[in-house]
Structure formats: C-alpha cells, structure tokens
Symmetry: C2
Subunit: 342 residues, 2 copies
Amino acid sequence: MTLIQPVILCGGGGTRLWPRSRRDRPKPFLPLLGERTLFQQTLDRVSDRDMFAPPIVVAGAAHEPLIREQGGNELTLIVEPAARNTAPAIALAALSLPEDAIMLVCPSDHYIANDEAFISGVRQAIALAREGRLVSFGIEPTAPETGYGYIRKGAALGEGFQVDSFVEKPDAATAQQFLASGQYCWNGGIFAFAAGDFVKELGRHRPEMARGVAEAMAQAKRCGAAIYPAAEPFAAISAESVDYAVMENTDRAAVVSADMGWSDIGNWDALHTVRPCDEQGNHTRGKVELRECSRVMVESDGPRVSVVGLEDVVVVIDGDDVLVTSRAHAQSVGKLAGAVQQ
Amino acid sequence: MTLIQPVILCGGGGTRLWPRSRRDRPKPFLPLLGERTLFQQTLDRVSDRDMFAPPIVVAGAAHEPLIREQGGNELTLIVEPAARNTAPAIALAALSLPEDAIMLVCPSDHYIANDEAFISGVRQAIALAREGRLVSFGIEPTAPETGYGYIRKGAALGEGFQVDSFVEKPDAATAQQFLASGQYCWNGGIFAFAAGDFVKELGRHRPEMARGVAEAMAQAKRCGAAIYPAAEPFAAISAESVDYAVMENTDRAAVVSADMGWSDIGNWDALHTVRPCDEQGNHTRGKVELRECSRVMVESDGPRVSVVGLEDVVVVIDGDDVLVTSRAHAQSVGKLAGAVQQ
C-alpha cells in the first residue's frame, strides 16, 4: 500500500497569541504545550514511516530558517512566493505530487491531545480519499464555540459522512443548537484527498487559481529539498481558503468525525484550557508567585511576576512586552497586536 | 514670634507599594504623585522660612544618601541607630531642641492635596501647643476606612478639641458608625507640641524610653549638620509609636480637625484614588496601551504594558519585577513583598 503524503501548512501568524507569537516567530514555531513546538508536534504525528511519506511543508520564505532548524532534513519545503491562504498553498503541494498520491493536509498550529484518535481518523479519511472523495476532518464539538466553522453531516459514507453543508462561524444561540443536534462537527482544517482529485476540483471551481498555481510550479526552481515556485504568476492569484475555493463547492466532499482532543489554540484562553493546571485552575511558566488566584495563566521569559487576588486573568511577559488581559477578552488581543506591531 | 520647628520622620518601608517601594528606595523617596518625591513634598509644605525653621529629619543610616540628595543642605539630620518606631524618633529630635521650641512632627510618606488647609491646621495646632497641649492632626473622614486609627473628639478647646479617646482600626460596621456620627476623625500622624512638654510626658508615661533616648543624645556625635545618637542605649529601647507611648496616655492631648485632602497612600489602591485619572478612571505611567479598561492603574519603568478588557486592576513594572493585583487585594501586597524580598 502506498504511503500517505503529509502536507504541513505553515501560514498564519497567530496574532492573538501576541506577545509570545510575533511576526518573526509565529505560533507554529513556539513550544506552547510541552517542549516541542506545535510544528514539531505536527511532524511527530506523521512520523511513522510505514504509514507516511516524509512530509512536504508549505511556508513563506521568512520561516525557512525556523523550519530547517525545527523540522530536520527529511522534509521537502515548498516556499510560497506570497501569502495567498490555504487553497493555493495546497495546490502547490498537489502539483508537486503524482495524481494518485493521497495527501493528508495538516495545519501546523493546532493541538491534538490524542494521537491514536488522530491516526484512526486518518485511516477513515484515507479510505474515502482513495475512493475519490475530498475529505474534511470534523471534530466532535464539546462546547458551543462561536469561533469555529461547522460542518453539517449528511448521509453515512463508509466510515464517514457525506457533507450536508459547511457553516460559517455561528452566533451563540446557533452554536448551542448545533451542539444539541449532534449533526454538526467543527471544521478542523485537516483534509485528505488524492492530489489529482484536488487539482481537478480546483480547476473546476477556481480555474484562474489553478492556472496560476500550475504556471508558478511549471517555472519553479528547485534547490536541494526546496521548491521555489515562480513569484509572478503566484502573486497574481487571489487569496482564498481551501474551504471556500474547493470544499464548499465540490460534490465529492466527505467528512470523518474525530474525537481527538483537538484545539486550534486560537487565543490565550484556548491555550489555558488545554494546558495542565493546578487545583485552583492556575497555570504558570517561569518565575511566578501567585497569592489568592484562581484560573489565572501567567508566563514570563524573564522578570518575576507576582499576581495577587485575581481570577480568570492572563499575564504574558515576552522580552520588552507585557500583556495583561482577561480570559473573556483573549479574543481581542489580535487587534491590539496588529496595532502595536505597526 | 518664634519659628515652628518641623521634624520630618523618614521611617517605614511602605512594603504595600512593592515593587516600586523597596528596602533601599522606600516610599518617601519615590515621586509617586507629581515629579517631587513624598519626602520632598513634605519639605515643601514647611518651606516658608517666615513661619518654619529649617527642618530636622529623623531617619535610618541607610537613607542618609537619599535624604542628602533629595533634601538639600539646609536640614539637620538625626540618624536613628536602630528602628524603634515613632516615639523614640520624636524624642531624639525633642532633646536636640530648646524646651520651648514648638515642634511640628510630620511623616514623610503621606500625601496632602491642599497645602492651604494644612497651613491653617498648623496654625490652629500651634496655638494649642503654645498653651501646653500635645496636639494631633485629625483628618475629617470621607469614607468608612478600616485601615486608619480614629480619634474621638471631646469638648471644644480653642480652635480644636480635647481628645475623648484614640480608637484602634475599626471593623467596617464600626467605621460606618464613626463616619455617620461626625464625632470622629482619622489620626493623621501629624503632631504639634513644645519639645519640653513632649519630653516631660514621655518621662511620665515611658520613663525607660525617655532615659534611653536622653542617654543616646548625651553621647551623640555631631558631624556638620548630622547628629548620630549613641547606638547602645538607643538599641535597648522598646519600639513604640508616639500614639501608644504618649498621645493615648497624656491628659494634655488635643486634636485639631483638618480637611486637607490627606492620604497615607497605604497601598496601590489608595495611590490610585489620589492620582489623576481619565474618564474611565484609568491612570498610566510609562509605555502603556489600554483597550476596554476601566479603573485600572498601570505603570512601567521600561517594558511596554498592554492591558485588554480589565477593571479595577493594578499593574506595576519595576526592574525585574512585575506585580499584577486587584484594587481590592492591594492591601495583601505587603505580605507578598515581605516573602519575595527574603
């Protein structure tokens, strides 16, 4: 049986995890949980060489040194000439592969607690991909999240489901209905499909994008294990996510449902939720003194931080920046980061 | 008319204003309000040389350089050989003066917003002191504070009152009664009396302390404008406040009542209360970014501090220390400071 081809996407800044996540050292390359970075943990999950081929990583040129440093020598790097969201990034990888290669597309900035459940989901998805399906990983929802896209499951299909519909981030009441109905799962941003099927569907629904990517790859320069697609045709492409460009349009969409302790670690509150905490719900890193605190998360890369009498607060010290926010306002940090990093 | 003799006391650490206030740079020597330090503001209040003699400052040896730097050359410094609270400190100054010198004893770590009201209170107190009274400055209470001692006013006496009683820090219900009754004022820690009267009353109620201080002053060394009382007899004295040792025992106690915008700046919350704030009740110093914040106080001596979505929180950056607390827990900072400065 041919190996599965992991394709790891390293776009995205993670501004809501500022000041730890910064332009030159974004979220995938930080050891936010444990000692390995999220990027390294993503590689670790597809490191079984009896099942997976050495990975392809798609990333911007700025992060090539971080990827080489953290990713080792085994991977193939495709350098995006410009940031154009996930659909073009995945297409670059697809065009570098044989048509029958089964791709497993993984973001590099998510957390998955249960590796076995992940592998089990991969097996289900791959089976459907081999039958010509474009498969999304659905995550069984555990809370009425309003920050995620949802997928409504349709009729059973192998070990998964047909996709009834993709749903935008819902409001709180709608999210509650979705959770109660049992028919929805979160869109985990992980996909499986044959390279040729993806290229075909992209050509059908986004023909200009498909042409632009094909041109960029036709003129690509190769240097060792790195591929540098041509800048000009790629830059002319419109940025679009794989969900919008392909998954919501194709009639070959399927979804497998996985319960694997997934989090997109979208902000400090989400990170707090998946980190180990003491009995008061506190998590600390670095020199931290807590007095009469509950559900606080404090991390410092240097100065001693003393927190007295607070609840549900996040404190992060990173170099010359100090962030203090509430868990409820964690989502607003991205806007601030955008403003102060100007 | 002879000049009033200011006596400025520079004891007390101000641990509840940690990390800004530290052992080697305590509260009186910090510019907590405006550009002048609390010590300098205390000197400024008694700087009218038509009314006040050049001040005597009583302080520990550790703070002599700070006092020289901030206090100029005009003052006389009495160096306490050991910290023994206010009664012995005041006695040192009293024994360095003629018996009929009228002393105005001022802490160096309080804030007074209204200088005119202060001077008016001084005139009232001095008039009583000239008649042989030991006069406390009472502060008209503006809130049911549980952190202050209270004085219950008795019969009218000149422009002041006899003292009915000194009252320990009350509980919240009692403080509320005190405020409602109109018969109580806060004990402001400012005193006026003739040097000889103070020495006499100390000898009556604390004869050992009086003997110890007299001995220390008899063996004192003088060097320029500094007086160094002898260490051995002074160290043998028990530490006691002037309230306990003298004011609560003497039958010559009087109180004048002043409404002068006084605060002991006992903790970060008290400091926040007397600092100028924006419309949301926020006060910042240094590089600070606020988003959706109310009633927060943030000060940094270096790093940029970004605060998002918090209320009633205090953030202080001082060198390698970061403090984050709530206004309600500001009082607990002293304990923490004691622990972390070990």
